[in-house]
Protein backbone atom coordinates (compact mmCIF):
# COMPACT_ATOMS: atom_id res chain seq x y z
CA UNK A 1 0.00 0.00 0.00
CA UNK A 2 2.79 2.41 0.98
CA UNK A 3 4.54 1.69 -2.28
CA UNK A 4 1.37 2.48 -4.21
CA UNK A 5 0.90 5.68 -2.23
CA UNK A 6 4.46 6.77 -2.91
CA UNK A 7 3.93 6.04 -6.56
CA UNK A 8 0.73 8.01 -6.71
CA UNK A 9 2.37 10.88 -4.79
CA UNK A 10 5.21 10.74 -7.27
CA UNK A 11 2.88 10.83 -10.22
CA UNK A 12 0.94 13.73 -8.68
CA UNK A 13 4.24 15.55 -8.19
CA UNK A 14 5.25 14.80 -11.78
CA UNK A 15 1.85 15.91 -13.02
CA UNK A 16 2.22 19.22 -11.16
CA UNK A 17 5.72 19.75 -12.59
CA UNK A 18 4.45 18.82 -16.04
CA UNK A 19 1.50 21.14 -15.54
CA UNK A 20 3.77 24.00 -14.46
CA UNK A 21 6.02 23.39 -17.44
CA UNK A 22 3.12 23.50 -19.90
CA UNK A 23 1.67 26.55 -18.11
CA UNK A 24 5.00 28.35 -18.53
CA UNK A 25 5.10 27.28 -22.17
CA UNK A 26 1.57 28.51 -22.80
CA UNK A 27 2.42 31.79 -21.05
CA UNK A 28 5.64 32.21 -23.00
CA UNK A 29 3.89 31.68 -26.32
CA UNK A 30 0.34 32.67 -25.42
CA UNK A 31 0.74 36.05 -23.78
CA UNK A 32 2.98 37.60 -26.47
CA UNK A 33 0.77 36.12 -29.22
CA UNK A 34 -2.31 37.54 -27.53
CA UNK A 35 -0.68 40.97 -27.22
CA UNK A 36 0.38 40.78 -30.88
CA UNK A 37 -3.17 39.94 -31.93
CA UNK A 38 -4.54 42.78 -29.78
CA UNK A 39 -2.03 45.17 -31.34
CA UNK A 40 -2.91 44.09 -34.88
CA UNK A 41 -6.65 44.33 -34.22
CA UNK A 42 -8.92 44.00 -37.28
CA UNK A 43 -9.11 40.55 -38.90
CA UNK A 44 -6.29 39.18 -36.73
CA UNK A 45 -8.20 39.89 -33.55
CA UNK A 46 -11.57 38.91 -35.01
CA UNK A 47 -10.17 35.65 -36.42
CA UNK A 48 -8.42 34.55 -33.24
CA UNK A 49 -11.32 35.46 -30.96
CA UNK A 50 -13.88 33.86 -33.24
CA UNK A 51 -11.83 30.66 -32.99
CA UNK A 52 -11.65 30.95 -29.19
CA UNK A 53 -15.42 31.55 -28.95
CA UNK A 54 -16.08 28.47 -31.11
CA UNK A 55 -13.81 26.35 -28.89
CA UNK A 56 -15.67 27.71 -25.86
CA UNK A 57 -18.91 26.50 -27.51
CA UNK A 58 -17.43 22.99 -27.72
CA UNK A 59 -16.56 23.22 -24.02
CA UNK A 60 -20.07 24.37 -23.11
CA UNK A 61 -21.49 21.42 -25.05
CA UNK A 62 -19.18 19.09 -23.13
CA UNK A 63 -20.38 20.54 -19.82
CA UNK A 64 -23.98 19.92 -20.89
CA UNK A 65 -23.16 16.37 -22.00
CA UNK A 66 -21.99 15.65 -18.46
CA UNK A 67 -25.65 16.21 -17.51
CA UNK A 68 -26.99 13.87 -20.19
CA UNK A 69 -27.90 16.76 -22.47
CA UNK A 70 -26.78 16.89 -26.08
CA UNK A 71 -27.20 20.40 -27.49
CA UNK A 72 -27.05 21.24 -31.18
CA UNK A 73 -23.39 22.28 -31.10
CA UNK A 74 -23.12 22.99 -34.83
CA UNK A 75 -26.18 25.24 -34.72
CA UNK A 76 -24.66 27.11 -31.79
CA UNK A 77 -21.32 27.46 -33.60
CA UNK A 78 -22.99 28.63 -36.83
CA UNK A 79 -25.07 31.09 -34.79
CA UNK A 80 -21.96 32.46 -33.05
CA UNK A 81 -20.28 33.04 -36.41
CA UNK A 82 -23.50 34.72 -37.54
CA UNK A 83 -23.50 37.04 -34.51
CA UNK A 84 -19.91 38.10 -35.18
CA UNK A 85 -20.66 38.55 -38.89
CA UNK A 86 -23.73 40.68 -38.06
CA UNK A 87 -21.59 42.84 -35.79
CA UNK A 88 -19.11 43.46 -38.59
CA UNK A 89 -21.56 43.92 -41.47
CA UNK A 90 -24.32 45.93 -39.86
CA UNK A 91 -26.11 46.63 -43.12
CA UNK A 92 -26.52 42.97 -44.14
CA UNK A 93 -28.24 41.48 -41.10
CA UNK A 94 -28.59 42.48 -37.45
CA UNK A 95 -27.75 40.50 -34.33
CA UNK A 96 -31.38 40.32 -33.20
CA UNK A 97 -32.31 38.56 -36.47
CA UNK A 98 -29.52 36.03 -35.90
CA UNK A 99 -30.72 35.37 -32.34
CA UNK A 100 -34.28 34.92 -33.64
CA UNK A 101 -33.20 32.53 -36.41
CA UNK A 102 -31.08 30.40 -34.07
CA UNK A 103 -33.89 30.46 -31.48
CA UNK A 104 -36.37 29.24 -34.13
CA UNK A 105 -34.01 26.50 -35.34
CA UNK A 106 -33.18 25.37 -31.79
CA UNK A 107 -36.91 24.81 -31.18
CA UNK A 108 -37.74 23.28 -34.55
CA UNK A 109 -34.79 20.92 -35.04
CA UNK A 110 -34.95 19.53 -31.50
CA UNK A 111 -38.38 18.05 -32.28
CA UNK A 112 -36.85 15.51 -34.66
CA UNK A 113 -33.84 14.51 -32.53
CA UNK A 114 -35.49 12.26 -29.95
CA UNK A 115 -33.01 13.34 -27.27
CA UNK A 116 -33.57 12.78 -23.54
CA UNK A 117 -33.31 16.41 -22.46
CA UNK A 118 -34.91 18.66 -25.09
CA UNK A 119 -35.41 21.60 -22.71
CA UNK A 120 -31.78 21.59 -21.58
CA UNK A 121 -30.65 21.23 -25.21
CA UNK A 122 -32.80 24.07 -26.56
CA UNK A 123 -31.98 26.29 -23.60
CA UNK A 124 -28.23 25.67 -23.89
CA UNK A 125 -28.07 26.76 -27.52
CA UNK A 126 -29.79 30.05 -26.65
CA UNK A 127 -27.75 30.47 -23.46
CA UNK A 128 -24.57 29.90 -25.49
CA UNK A 129 -25.63 32.56 -27.99
CA UNK A 130 -25.91 35.09 -25.15
CA UNK A 131 -23.03 33.99 -22.90
CA UNK A 132 -20.49 33.28 -25.62
CA UNK A 133 -21.87 35.36 -28.49
CA UNK A 134 -22.96 38.53 -26.75
CA UNK A 135 -20.96 38.54 -23.49
CA UNK A 136 -17.64 36.99 -24.53
CA UNK A 137 -18.18 38.40 -28.03
CA UNK A 138 -18.14 41.92 -26.54
CA UNK A 139 -14.35 41.52 -26.53
CA UNK A 140 -14.51 42.07 -30.29
CA UNK A 141 -16.75 45.14 -29.88
CA UNK A 142 -14.29 46.57 -27.35
CA UNK A 143 -11.30 46.01 -29.63
CA UNK A 144 -13.16 47.59 -32.56
CA UNK A 145 -13.77 50.87 -30.66
CA UNK A 146 -12.30 53.47 -32.99
CA UNK A 147 -9.02 55.08 -31.88
CA UNK A 148 -9.04 53.77 -28.28
CA UNK A 149 -9.78 50.08 -29.02
CA UNK A 150 -6.23 48.80 -28.51
CA UNK A 151 -5.58 50.76 -25.28
CA UNK A 152 -8.80 49.75 -23.57
CA UNK A 153 -8.49 46.10 -24.64
CA UNK A 154 -4.97 45.79 -23.24
CA UNK A 155 -5.98 47.73 -20.11
CA UNK A 156 -8.91 45.36 -19.59
CA UNK A 157 -6.91 42.15 -20.11
CA UNK A 158 -3.94 43.21 -18.00
CA UNK A 159 -6.07 44.55 -15.16
CA UNK A 160 -8.01 41.26 -15.06
CA UNK A 161 -4.66 39.41 -14.93
CA UNK A 162 -3.45 41.83 -12.21
CA UNK A 163 -6.61 41.12 -10.26
CA UNK A 164 -6.03 37.33 -10.57
CA UNK A 165 -2.39 37.66 -9.49
CA UNK A 166 -3.08 39.92 -6.47
CA UNK A 167 -5.98 37.68 -5.44
CA UNK A 168 -3.81 34.56 -5.70
CA UNK A 169 -0.81 35.98 -3.79
CA UNK A 170 -2.73 37.67 -0.98
CA UNK A 171 -5.32 34.86 -0.85
CA UNK A 172 -2.65 32.15 -0.48
CA UNK A 173 -0.86 34.03 2.32
CA UNK A 174 -3.64 35.71 4.27
CA UNK A 175 -6.83 34.09 2.98
CA UNK A 176 -9.04 33.06 5.91
CA UNK A 177 -12.65 34.06 5.28
CA UNK A 178 -14.03 32.02 2.41
CA UNK A 179 -16.37 33.80 -0.01
CA UNK A 180 -18.42 30.86 -1.29
CA UNK A 181 -16.78 27.62 -0.15
CA UNK A 182 -19.47 25.51 -1.83
CA UNK A 183 -18.63 27.01 -5.25
CA UNK A 184 -14.91 27.81 -5.05
CA UNK A 185 -13.41 26.33 -1.88
CA UNK A 186 -10.14 28.24 -2.23
CA UNK A 187 -11.33 31.81 -2.80
CA UNK A 188 -11.18 34.13 0.21
CA UNK A 189 -12.47 37.63 0.79
CA UNK A 190 -8.89 38.72 1.55
CA UNK A 191 -7.80 37.55 -1.90
CA UNK A 192 -10.87 38.97 -3.66
CA UNK A 193 -10.44 42.42 -2.13
CA UNK A 194 -6.71 42.38 -2.94
CA UNK A 195 -7.64 41.53 -6.53
CA UNK A 196 -10.05 44.44 -6.71
CA UNK A 197 -7.46 46.83 -5.24
CA UNK A 198 -4.81 45.52 -7.63
CA UNK A 199 -7.03 46.04 -10.68
CA UNK A 200 -7.96 49.59 -9.64
CA UNK A 201 -4.30 50.40 -8.85
CA UNK A 202 -3.26 49.14 -12.28
CA UNK A 203 -5.92 51.26 -13.98
CA UNK A 204 -4.78 54.29 -11.94
CA UNK A 205 -1.16 53.76 -12.95
CA UNK A 206 -2.25 53.72 -16.59
CA UNK A 207 -4.37 56.82 -16.03
CA UNK A 208 -1.65 58.88 -14.32
CA UNK A 209 0.79 57.90 -17.05
CA UNK A 210 -1.58 59.39 -19.60
CA UNK A 211 -2.50 56.08 -21.30
CA UNK A 212 -6.07 57.26 -21.88
CA UNK A 213 -5.16 60.83 -22.96
CA UNK A 214 -8.19 63.03 -22.40
CA UNK A 215 -10.63 60.22 -23.26
CA UNK A 216 -11.41 58.87 -19.77
CA UNK A 217 -11.63 60.85 -16.52
CA UNK A 218 -10.65 59.57 -13.05
CA UNK A 219 -14.21 58.32 -12.30
CA UNK A 220 -14.32 56.31 -15.56
CA UNK A 221 -10.99 54.69 -14.78
CA UNK A 222 -12.05 53.71 -11.26
CA UNK A 223 -15.39 52.40 -12.60
CA UNK A 224 -13.57 50.22 -15.14
CA UNK A 225 -11.26 49.07 -12.32
CA UNK A 226 -14.34 47.94 -10.38
CA UNK A 227 -15.54 46.06 -13.46
CA UNK A 228 -12.24 44.30 -14.25
CA UNK A 229 -11.33 43.70 -10.59
CA UNK A 230 -14.72 43.24 -8.96
CA UNK A 231 -17.53 42.09 -11.22
CA UNK A 232 -15.14 40.02 -13.32
CA UNK A 233 -14.55 37.75 -10.30
CA UNK A 234 -18.22 36.79 -10.46
CA UNK A 235 -17.59 35.36 -13.94
CA UNK A 236 -15.00 33.08 -12.43
CA UNK A 237 -17.41 31.91 -9.74
CA UNK A 238 -20.19 31.32 -12.30
CA UNK A 239 -17.90 29.15 -14.39
CA UNK A 240 -16.73 27.23 -11.29
CA UNK A 241 -20.37 26.63 -10.42
CA UNK A 242 -21.02 25.07 -13.84
CA UNK A 243 -17.87 22.92 -13.62
CA UNK A 244 -18.79 21.77 -10.13
CA UNK A 245 -22.27 20.79 -11.30
CA UNK A 246 -20.78 18.89 -14.24
CA UNK A 247 -18.16 17.31 -11.97
CA UNK A 248 -15.12 18.42 -13.99
CA UNK A 249 -11.96 20.31 -13.02
CA UNK A 250 -11.26 22.04 -16.32
CA UNK A 251 -13.61 22.68 -19.22
CA UNK A 252 -10.99 21.22 -21.59
CA UNK A 253 -7.21 20.96 -21.93
CA UNK A 254 -7.01 23.20 -25.00
CA UNK A 255 -4.69 25.54 -23.07
CA UNK A 256 -2.72 22.77 -21.31
CA UNK A 257 -2.05 23.74 -17.66
CA UNK A 258 -4.43 26.67 -17.98
CA UNK A 259 -7.41 24.41 -18.62
CA UNK A 260 -9.93 25.42 -21.24
CA UNK A 261 -11.02 28.60 -22.96
CA UNK A 262 -13.91 29.05 -20.53
CA UNK A 263 -11.46 28.65 -17.60
CA UNK A 264 -9.27 31.44 -18.96
CA UNK A 265 -11.86 33.83 -20.34
CA UNK A 266 -14.66 33.53 -17.76
CA UNK A 267 -13.73 36.84 -16.11
CA UNK A 268 -13.45 38.62 -19.45
CA UNK A 269 -16.92 37.38 -20.43
CA UNK A 270 -18.18 39.64 -17.62
CA UNK A 271 -15.58 42.42 -17.82
CA UNK A 272 -15.81 43.02 -21.59
CA UNK A 273 -19.60 43.47 -21.92
CA UNK A 274 -19.77 45.62 -18.78
CA UNK A 275 -16.89 47.81 -19.94
CA UNK A 276 -18.52 48.18 -23.35
CA UNK A 277 -21.94 49.03 -21.87
CA UNK A 278 -20.30 51.50 -19.47
CA UNK A 279 -18.48 53.30 -22.30
CA UNK A 280 -21.60 53.22 -24.49
CA UNK A 281 -24.04 54.61 -21.92
CA UNK A 282 -21.54 57.22 -20.66
CA UNK A 283 -21.35 58.36 -24.32
CA UNK A 284 -17.60 57.70 -24.41
CA UNK A 285 -17.82 55.77 -27.69
Amino acid sequence: MKHVNLNSQNSVFMAITENKKSRTLVNLIGVPSLLFVMWQGGYWFIGVFTALILLAALELSDLVRQQKGNPLTYLLMAGLIGLIFAQLCEGAIDQISILILVGLLSLCVEIFRGEDKPLLNMATVNFGMIWLGLLLGSLISVRLIPEHGFTITVAMFVSVWTCDTFAFIVGSKFGKTKVLPSVSPKKSWEGSIAGLVGAILFMLILFYNGAFGDWLCLTDVIAIGFITGGFSQLGDFAESLLKREAGVKDTSDYLQGHGGILDRFDSLAIAAPLTYLYLQYMSLI
Copy 2:
Protein backbone atom coordinates in the same frame (compact mmCIF):
# COMPACT_ATOMS: atom_id res chain seq x y z
CA MET B 1 -64.21 -2.11 -9.41
CA LYS B 2 -66.85 -1.65 -12.10
CA HIS B 3 -68.56 0.95 -9.97
CA VAL B 4 -65.33 2.83 -9.58
CA ASN B 5 -64.76 2.59 -13.32
CA LEU B 6 -68.21 3.92 -14.07
CA ASN B 7 -67.68 6.71 -11.62
CA SER B 8 -64.37 7.65 -13.13
CA GLN B 9 -65.88 7.45 -16.62
CA ASN B 10 -68.65 9.72 -15.40
CA SER B 11 -66.23 12.22 -13.98
CA VAL B 12 -64.16 12.14 -17.16
CA PHE B 13 -67.34 12.80 -19.13
CA MET B 14 -68.28 15.63 -16.79
CA ALA B 15 -64.77 17.05 -17.01
CA ILE B 16 -64.98 17.00 -20.82
CA THR B 17 -68.37 18.74 -20.75
CA GLU B 18 -67.07 21.25 -18.22
CA ASN B 19 -63.97 21.72 -20.36
CA LYS B 20 -66.08 22.28 -23.49
CA LYS B 21 -68.23 24.78 -21.62
CA SER B 22 -65.24 26.78 -20.42
CA ARG B 23 -63.63 26.51 -23.88
CA THR B 24 -66.77 27.98 -25.42
CA LEU B 25 -66.80 30.71 -22.77
CA VAL B 26 -63.15 31.56 -23.39
CA ASN B 27 -63.83 31.60 -27.14
CA LEU B 28 -66.92 33.78 -26.74
CA ILE B 29 -65.06 36.34 -24.63
CA GLY B 30 -61.48 35.73 -25.76
CA VAL B 31 -61.71 35.90 -29.53
CA PRO B 32 -63.69 39.17 -29.73
CA SER B 33 -61.46 40.72 -27.03
CA LEU B 34 -58.38 39.65 -28.93
CA LEU B 35 -59.75 41.13 -32.16
CA PHE B 36 -60.65 44.34 -30.32
CA VAL B 37 -57.13 44.60 -28.90
CA MET B 38 -55.65 43.94 -32.36
CA TRP B 39 -57.88 46.62 -33.84
CA GLN B 40 -56.94 49.17 -31.16
CA GLY B 41 -53.22 48.41 -31.50
CA GLY B 42 -50.86 50.78 -29.64
CA TYR B 43 -50.84 50.57 -25.85
CA TRP B 44 -53.85 48.22 -25.82
CA PHE B 45 -52.04 45.60 -27.85
CA ILE B 46 -48.69 46.18 -26.14
CA GLY B 47 -50.27 45.99 -22.67
CA VAL B 48 -52.25 42.81 -23.29
CA PHE B 49 -49.40 41.01 -25.04
CA THR B 50 -46.86 42.06 -22.42
CA ALA B 51 -49.17 40.51 -19.82
CA LEU B 52 -49.50 37.31 -21.90
CA ILE B 53 -45.72 37.10 -22.35
CA LEU B 54 -45.20 37.49 -18.59
CA LEU B 55 -47.74 34.72 -17.89
CA ALA B 56 -45.90 32.56 -20.42
CA ALA B 57 -42.70 33.18 -18.43
CA LEU B 58 -44.43 31.83 -15.32
CA GLU B 59 -45.46 28.76 -17.32
CA LEU B 60 -41.91 28.21 -18.60
CA SER B 61 -40.63 28.43 -15.00
CA ASP B 62 -43.21 25.83 -13.97
CA LEU B 63 -42.05 23.50 -16.77
CA VAL B 64 -38.47 23.88 -15.54
CA ARG B 65 -39.49 23.25 -11.94
CA GLN B 66 -40.88 19.89 -13.04
CA GLN B 67 -37.26 19.04 -13.82
CA LYS B 68 -35.97 20.18 -10.42
CA GLY B 69 -34.74 23.47 -11.82
CA ASN B 70 -35.66 26.80 -10.28
CA PRO B 71 -34.92 29.65 -12.67
CA LEU B 72 -34.84 33.31 -11.68
CA THR B 73 -38.40 34.01 -12.81
CA TYR B 74 -38.43 37.65 -11.69
CA LEU B 75 -35.22 38.37 -13.56
CA LEU B 76 -36.73 36.79 -16.68
CA MET B 77 -39.93 38.80 -16.28
CA ALA B 78 -38.04 42.07 -15.69
CA GLY B 79 -35.88 41.28 -18.72
CA LEU B 80 -38.93 40.61 -20.90
CA ILE B 81 -40.42 43.98 -19.90
CA GLY B 82 -37.02 45.51 -20.68
CA LEU B 83 -36.98 43.93 -24.16
CA ILE B 84 -40.45 45.31 -24.95
CA PHE B 85 -39.49 48.72 -23.55
CA ALA B 86 -36.32 48.76 -25.65
CA GLN B 87 -38.36 47.94 -28.73
CA LEU B 88 -40.67 50.89 -28.09
CA CYS B 89 -38.06 53.45 -26.99
CA GLU B 90 -35.23 52.77 -29.38
CA GLY B 91 -33.22 55.82 -28.36
CA ALA B 92 -33.06 54.97 -24.64
CA ILE B 93 -31.61 51.45 -24.70
CA ASP B 94 -31.34 48.69 -27.29
CA GLN B 95 -32.48 45.07 -27.08
CA ILE B 96 -28.93 43.71 -27.29
CA SER B 97 -27.98 45.69 -24.14
CA ILE B 98 -30.99 44.22 -22.32
CA LEU B 99 -30.01 40.69 -23.39
CA ILE B 100 -26.44 41.34 -22.21
CA LEU B 101 -27.57 42.73 -18.83
CA VAL B 102 -29.96 39.85 -18.17
CA GLY B 103 -27.28 37.38 -19.32
CA LEU B 104 -24.79 38.94 -16.88
CA LEU B 105 -27.28 38.90 -14.02
CA SER B 106 -28.37 35.32 -14.74
CA LEU B 107 -24.73 34.22 -14.36
CA CYS B 108 -23.86 36.40 -11.37
CA VAL B 109 -26.96 35.97 -9.22
CA GLU B 110 -27.07 32.17 -9.65
CA ILE B 111 -23.73 31.90 -7.81
CA PHE B 112 -25.34 32.92 -4.53
CA ARG B 113 -28.50 30.81 -4.79
CA GLY B 114 -27.18 27.36 -3.95
CA GLU B 115 -29.68 25.69 -6.29
CA ASP B 116 -29.34 22.12 -7.55
CA LYS B 117 -29.37 22.89 -11.26
CA PRO B 118 -27.49 26.12 -11.91
CA LEU B 119 -26.86 25.38 -15.61
CA LEU B 120 -30.54 24.66 -16.31
CA ASN B 121 -31.52 27.77 -14.33
CA MET B 122 -29.10 30.14 -16.08
CA ALA B 123 -29.88 28.63 -19.48
CA THR B 124 -33.65 28.88 -18.98
CA VAL B 125 -33.55 32.60 -18.23
CA ASN B 126 -31.62 33.25 -21.44
CA PHE B 127 -33.78 30.81 -23.42
CA GLY B 128 -36.88 32.57 -22.11
CA MET B 129 -35.51 35.93 -23.22
CA ILE B 130 -35.16 34.60 -26.76
CA TRP B 131 -38.22 32.33 -27.01
CA LEU B 132 -40.69 34.59 -25.22
CA GLY B 133 -39.02 37.99 -25.61
CA LEU B 134 -37.77 37.86 -29.18
CA LEU B 135 -39.90 35.15 -30.83
CA LEU B 136 -43.28 35.59 -29.13
CA GLY B 137 -42.47 39.30 -28.68
CA SER B 138 -42.31 39.64 -32.48
CA LEU B 139 -46.12 39.74 -32.33
CA ILE B 140 -45.74 43.29 -31.02
CA SER B 141 -43.29 44.20 -33.81
CA VAL B 142 -45.75 42.83 -36.38
CA ARG B 143 -48.66 44.82 -34.94
CA LEU B 144 -46.53 47.98 -34.86
CA ILE B 145 -45.75 47.80 -38.59
CA PRO B 146 -46.92 51.20 -39.85
CA GLU B 147 -50.10 51.23 -41.94
CA HIS B 148 -50.34 47.44 -42.50
CA GLY B 149 -49.88 46.29 -38.87
CA PHE B 150 -53.53 45.51 -38.17
CA THR B 151 -54.16 43.66 -41.45
CA ILE B 152 -51.11 41.43 -41.24
CA THR B 153 -51.67 40.68 -37.52
CA VAL B 154 -55.26 39.57 -38.08
CA ALA B 155 -54.24 37.64 -41.21
CA MET B 156 -51.54 35.86 -39.24
CA PHE B 157 -53.76 34.96 -36.28
CA VAL B 158 -56.73 33.83 -38.35
CA SER B 159 -54.63 31.81 -40.78
CA VAL B 160 -52.96 30.02 -37.83
CA TRP B 161 -56.44 29.29 -36.44
CA THR B 162 -57.59 28.12 -39.90
CA CYS B 163 -54.58 25.83 -40.05
CA ASP B 164 -55.44 24.37 -36.61
CA THR B 165 -59.08 23.86 -37.59
CA PHE B 166 -58.36 22.22 -40.97
CA ALA B 167 -55.70 20.04 -39.35
CA PHE B 168 -58.09 18.96 -36.59
CA ILE B 169 -61.05 18.18 -38.88
CA VAL B 170 -59.11 16.35 -41.60
CA GLY B 171 -56.78 14.73 -39.07
CA SER B 172 -59.68 13.34 -37.01
CA LYS B 173 -61.44 11.89 -40.09
CA PHE B 174 -58.60 10.75 -42.33
CA GLY B 175 -55.51 10.89 -40.12
CA LYS B 176 -53.53 7.65 -40.52
CA THR B 177 -49.83 8.40 -40.91
CA LYS B 178 -48.49 9.85 -37.69
CA VAL B 179 -45.91 12.64 -38.00
CA LEU B 180 -44.03 12.23 -34.72
CA PRO B 181 -45.98 9.83 -32.49
CA SER B 182 -43.39 10.11 -29.71
CA VAL B 183 -43.95 13.88 -29.46
CA SER B 184 -47.61 14.38 -30.42
CA PRO B 185 -49.37 11.01 -30.70
CA LYS B 186 -52.45 12.45 -32.36
CA LYS B 187 -50.97 14.56 -35.17
CA SER B 188 -51.07 13.01 -38.63
CA TRP B 189 -49.52 14.03 -41.94
CA GLU B 190 -53.04 14.15 -43.42
CA GLY B 191 -54.05 16.73 -40.81
CA SER B 192 -50.81 18.70 -41.08
CA ILE B 193 -51.05 18.98 -44.86
CA ALA B 194 -54.71 19.98 -44.62
CA GLY B 195 -53.69 22.67 -42.12
CA LEU B 196 -51.06 24.00 -44.49
CA VAL B 197 -53.51 24.02 -47.41
CA GLY B 198 -56.15 25.73 -45.24
CA ALA B 199 -53.76 28.50 -44.15
CA ILE B 200 -52.61 29.15 -47.73
CA LEU B 201 -56.22 29.13 -48.99
CA PHE B 202 -57.21 31.63 -46.32
CA MET B 203 -54.31 33.92 -47.25
CA LEU B 204 -55.30 33.63 -50.94
CA ILE B 205 -58.90 34.56 -50.15
CA LEU B 206 -57.65 37.66 -48.33
CA PHE B 207 -55.31 38.46 -51.22
CA TYR B 208 -57.93 38.13 -53.98
CA ASN B 209 -60.32 40.26 -51.92
CA GLY B 210 -57.75 43.03 -51.90
CA ALA B 211 -57.00 42.90 -48.15
CA PHE B 212 -53.33 43.68 -48.75
CA GLY B 213 -53.90 46.38 -51.39
CA ASP B 214 -50.74 46.68 -53.46
CA TRP B 215 -48.49 45.94 -50.47
CA LEU B 216 -47.99 42.18 -50.91
CA CYS B 217 -47.74 40.22 -54.15
CA LEU B 218 -48.98 36.65 -54.73
CA THR B 219 -45.57 35.14 -53.83
CA ASP B 220 -45.48 37.04 -50.52
CA VAL B 221 -48.96 35.84 -49.62
CA ILE B 222 -48.12 32.20 -50.38
CA ALA B 223 -44.85 32.53 -48.44
CA ILE B 224 -46.71 33.86 -45.40
CA GLY B 225 -49.25 31.02 -45.83
CA PHE B 226 -46.35 28.55 -45.62
CA ILE B 227 -45.17 30.27 -42.45
CA THR B 228 -48.55 30.40 -40.69
CA GLY B 229 -49.68 26.98 -41.94
CA GLY B 230 -46.41 25.06 -42.13
CA PHE B 231 -43.59 26.29 -39.92
CA SER B 232 -46.03 27.35 -37.22
CA GLN B 233 -46.95 23.68 -36.68
CA LEU B 234 -43.35 23.09 -35.59
CA GLY B 235 -43.93 25.52 -32.71
CA ASP B 236 -46.76 23.32 -31.54
CA PHE B 237 -44.57 20.21 -31.67
CA ALA B 238 -41.75 21.98 -29.81
CA GLU B 239 -44.09 22.97 -27.03
CA SER B 240 -45.55 19.45 -26.86
CA LEU B 241 -42.02 18.11 -26.57
CA LEU B 242 -41.33 20.33 -23.54
CA LYS B 243 -44.64 19.37 -21.92
CA ARG B 244 -43.98 15.68 -22.54
CA GLU B 245 -40.54 15.99 -20.95
CA ALA B 246 -42.04 17.80 -17.94
CA GLY B 247 -44.88 15.27 -17.77
CA VAL B 248 -47.72 17.80 -17.92
CA LYS B 249 -50.76 18.07 -20.20
CA ASP B 250 -51.17 21.84 -20.18
CA THR B 251 -48.66 24.51 -19.25
CA SER B 252 -51.28 26.12 -16.98
CA ASP B 253 -55.03 26.59 -16.74
CA TYR B 254 -54.93 30.36 -17.26
CA LEU B 255 -57.15 29.94 -20.36
CA GLN B 256 -59.42 27.25 -18.85
CA GLY B 257 -60.16 24.55 -21.43
CA HIS B 258 -57.54 26.02 -23.77
CA GLY B 259 -54.73 25.29 -21.33
CA GLY B 260 -52.01 27.87 -20.87
CA ILE B 261 -50.61 30.78 -22.81
CA LEU B 262 -47.80 28.63 -24.22
CA ASP B 263 -50.40 26.06 -25.37
CA ARG B 264 -52.31 28.73 -27.29
CA PHE B 265 -49.47 30.88 -28.61
CA ASP B 266 -46.83 28.24 -29.43
CA SER B 267 -47.58 28.41 -33.17
CA LEU B 268 -47.56 32.21 -33.16
CA ALA B 269 -44.15 32.23 -31.45
CA ILE B 270 -42.86 30.71 -34.70
CA ALA B 271 -45.22 32.40 -37.18
CA ALA B 272 -44.77 35.97 -35.91
CA PRO B 273 -40.94 36.20 -35.96
CA LEU B 274 -40.74 34.42 -39.35
CA THR B 275 -43.40 36.71 -40.84
CA TYR B 276 -41.57 39.74 -39.48
CA LEU B 277 -38.18 38.58 -40.77
CA TYR B 278 -39.73 37.76 -44.15
CA LEU B 279 -41.27 41.23 -44.47
CA GLN B 280 -38.08 42.87 -43.21
CA TYR B 281 -35.65 41.10 -45.54
CA MET B 282 -37.99 41.41 -48.52
CA SER B 283 -37.92 45.18 -47.82
CA LEU B 284 -41.71 45.24 -47.38
CA ILE B 285 -41.48 47.21 -44.10
